[in-house]
């Protein structure tokens, strides 16, 4: 275990201040400011084209912003060329040198630093051990599986003990099972090495799994920065609510500081701002099956349209009985019920009229965009 003060000593704090990057009229990054704590695992999360990779490339030094400063510790490095920044980087396609063996790839950064032969072979061994590839040093890159390549790329990025580790969607080429294993492993590795890590992904589940904090970026703008739980439970706008987790957005009207869906009042877990159009964010796993007599707030009478077996859970697609005037289509909600043996009796059939409810603590609304 590494104590907090030790991490502070080894790792670098990164401070991004007012960074803007434009391509013609297009703002790839629009005045982004962001502080990354020493030793933190921070994920830049956003859809493709959101600017998250651009921000990573600004940190690596491959893209120079039009405006703004980037501090590693107390040093402004915005004008420093990439090869002097000392950051470890894992590329999306790994960028392993095909004309070198695994060992030569991992030794490359050490050779550049003019280490002695012994130091190099020791460093390479350590790095390969760390990523569990000991014994594969003589392999050619072409002989490795996707997962092994990923590990070599990681070993190469950490072998020279950089103070900052940048990763650009490193797991996107792996299949689901391997990806989920690697998420846990990368996180464990980060905890052991205590490197300030900036991780780029478009996979919200990956971000939730791995990160200390998540920065959600869309259209070049930093939308929200917070703990995974905060981002999931209290998204600050409809885009994040929709992007993170599964959710259905129900339109609600706020009048006299009271949210209403149709005529029914919706109780929410936070103070409501100004009157206007909002959406209620409904997570499928938060919906409860209740009886008609239930006193639970935020009840929605509905009819089961589809019932889909998904292994660990049953997904119900239900049609709300309530329709607001002027609506052409009825509203639908997704309801997820865990497939436990206790639940098997209560799972309704297609066509059943049921009632679902959302607890007040699970209810929140965000401004309609």
């Amino acid at each position: 275990m590494v104590s907090h003060s030790e991490i502070k000593e080894q790792a670098l704090r990164i401070s991004i201040q007012g960074v803007t990057k434009t391509y013609g009229d297009f703002f790839a990054l629009n005045n982004v400011s962001l502080d990354i704590e020493a030793g933190e695992f921070l994920t830049l999360l956003g859809p493709s084209g959101s600017g998250k990779t651009t921000l990573l490339m600004v940190l690596a030094g491959f893209i120079r912003p039009n405006q703004g400063q980037v501090f590693f510790g107390s040093e402004d490095i915005v004008l420093k060329p990439p090869h002097l920044r000392g950051v470890g980087m894992v590329f999306q396609n790994y960028a392993l040198f095909p004309h070198m063996s695994v060992e030569q790839n991992v030794a490359y950064p050490l050779k550049l630093r003019r280490k002695t032969k012994d130091e190099i072979s020791q460093g390479v061994q350590e790095a390969l051990d760390t990523v569990k590839l000991a014994g594969l040093g003589n392999r050619k890159i072409g002989q490795l599986s996707g997962g092994q390549r990923q590990r070599v790329a990681l070993a190469r990025a950490i072998v020279f003990k950089p103070k900052v580790l940048l990763m650009d969607e490193p797991l996107s080429a792996l299949d689901k099972k391997l990806r989920e294993e690697m998420q846990i492993e990368l996180r464990r590795l980060h905890d052991n090495l205590a490197i300030t890590t900036v991780y780029v992904t478009h996979d919200q589940k990956e971000a939730l799994t791995m990160s200390d904090r998540i920065a959600v970026i869309n259209h070049g703008i930093l939308n929200q920065l917070g703990l995974p739980q905060e981002i999931y439970s209290n998204p600050t706008n409809a885009f994040i609510a929709d992007f993170i987790g599964e959710s259905t957005l129900l339109p609600v009207e706020v009048r006299d500081s009271t949210p209403r869906f149709g005529e029914s009042i919706i109780s929410v877990n936070h103070d409501v701002g100004s009157d206007g159009s909002y959406v209620l964010v409904v997570r499928p796993e938060k919906l409860l099956l209740v009886t008609d007599e239930s006193t639970a707030p935020n009840r929605f009478p509905c009819t089961v349209e589809e019932s889909i077996f998904q292994g660990e859970s049953q997904l119900l697609i239900v049609r709300l009985d309530t329709m607001k005037s002027g609506d052409k289509e009825p509203y639908r909600l997704n309801v997820r019920i865990a497939n436990t043996s206790a639940n098997s009796a209560v799972i309704p059939q297609v066509g059943d009229s049921i009632c679902v409810a959302l607890e007040k603590v699970d209810s929140f609304i965000v401004k309609q965009e």
Partner: protein, 296 residues
């Protein structure tokens, strides 16, 4: 019981179908086979046969014996290899930096540059060679210009010698080096260089340790094409060498036109062909021949 009968019929008809498809494939290949036999196998066999026939029609080894014994032939082969090697080396010296430069340009400009490389490539060989004649001769454009500017006191001997031959050959051969090399360089992922620089390599270091080794297959393929074509080249050395630089191909021509010795000419042709095949065979151990054709 019926099920088994159905199965047997099924196996039979599947087998028949397979045979039928195989016959169709063979049928489709026949025209190609005929072309190869008529245009390649037969002429080469003929060439081979002719090389063993004396003037009076009798069988003889004398053409080959003369090739081995005669100092003149030895000299001609040396000249041929010298010119081919020098042309290839100069092509590499000019072509590699040029191709690197083009490959680093944005697509649009790179395509323009490649068109500039290709236009002379598509222009008639003869036209280009005679254009060099105009430029290089004693009272040609270059010499006149040099004298008028006072850079030269007397005309440089730029043609009817090795210099002229090399200038012309390099110009003709350059695209053969650039095309496969360009394809190779374009295919080198720029992320490799980014990765190198993230690990601390400056641009020069990244170039020599990453880019250059990855471009070697393209360079070898291009060089091999240039070298092999040079070995049998005729027009340019004949015109610009002015009879003073004699390569194998020119000796073949003079054997036929001056001495009417089809046998001697054929023997030279066979030796050149065998050498070329041998070089390609040895090279194929180092260079993927795919790179020379499909991707090149």
């Amino acid at each position: 019981m019926t099920a088994i009968v159905v199965n047997e019929i099924n196996i039979k008809s599947l087998r028949q179908q397979e045979t039928k498809e195989r016959l169709v494939m063979i049928g489709l290949t026949i025209p190609y086979l005929l072309i190869v036999i008529l245009l390649i196998i037969v002429p080469i066999g003929w060439l081979f046969g002719t090389s063993f026939v004396d003037q009076d029609g009798s069988f003889t080894f004398k053409h080959y014996v003369r090739l081995v014994e005669s100092k003149a032939y030895y000299r001609i082969f040396i000249t041929t290899f010298e010119i081919s090697i020098f042309t290839t080396l100069i092509c590499i010296l000019i072509g590699y930096p040029l191709t690197y430069f083009i490959s680093q340009l944005p697509r649009r400009f790179a395509n323009l540059c490649m068109i500039a490389v290709l236009i002379p490539f598509w222009t008639s060989l003869l036209v280009r060679t005679y254009a060099w004649l105009v430029l290089l001769q004693r009272k040609g454009l270059l010499n006149n210009f040099g004298i008028e500017l006072g850079l030269l006191s007397e005309p440089l001997p730029l043609m009817h010698n090795m210099t002229g031959t090399l200038i012309g050959m390099v110009h003709i051969m350059l695209p053969f080096l650039i095309l496969p090399l360009y394809a190779n360089m374009r295919a080198i992922d720029t992320d490799y260089l980014k990765a190198a620089s993230s690990m601390g390599a400056n641009q020069l270091r990244a170039f020599w340790t990453i880019f250059f080794p990855l471009s070697v297959p393209g360079l070898l393929a291009g060089s091999l094409i240039v070298f092999v074509i040079c070995l049998g080249f005729y027009v340019t050395p004949a015109v610009l060498g002015g009879g003073k630089v004699i390569m194998v191909s020119m000796k073949i021509q003079s054997n036929i036109e001056l001495f009417f010795s089809w046998g001697a000419a054929s023997a030279l042709g066979v030796v050149l062909l065998v050498m070329t095949i041998a070089i390609l065979y040895i090279a194929s151990k180092f260079v993927s021949l795919d790179q020379m054709s499909s991707r090149g």
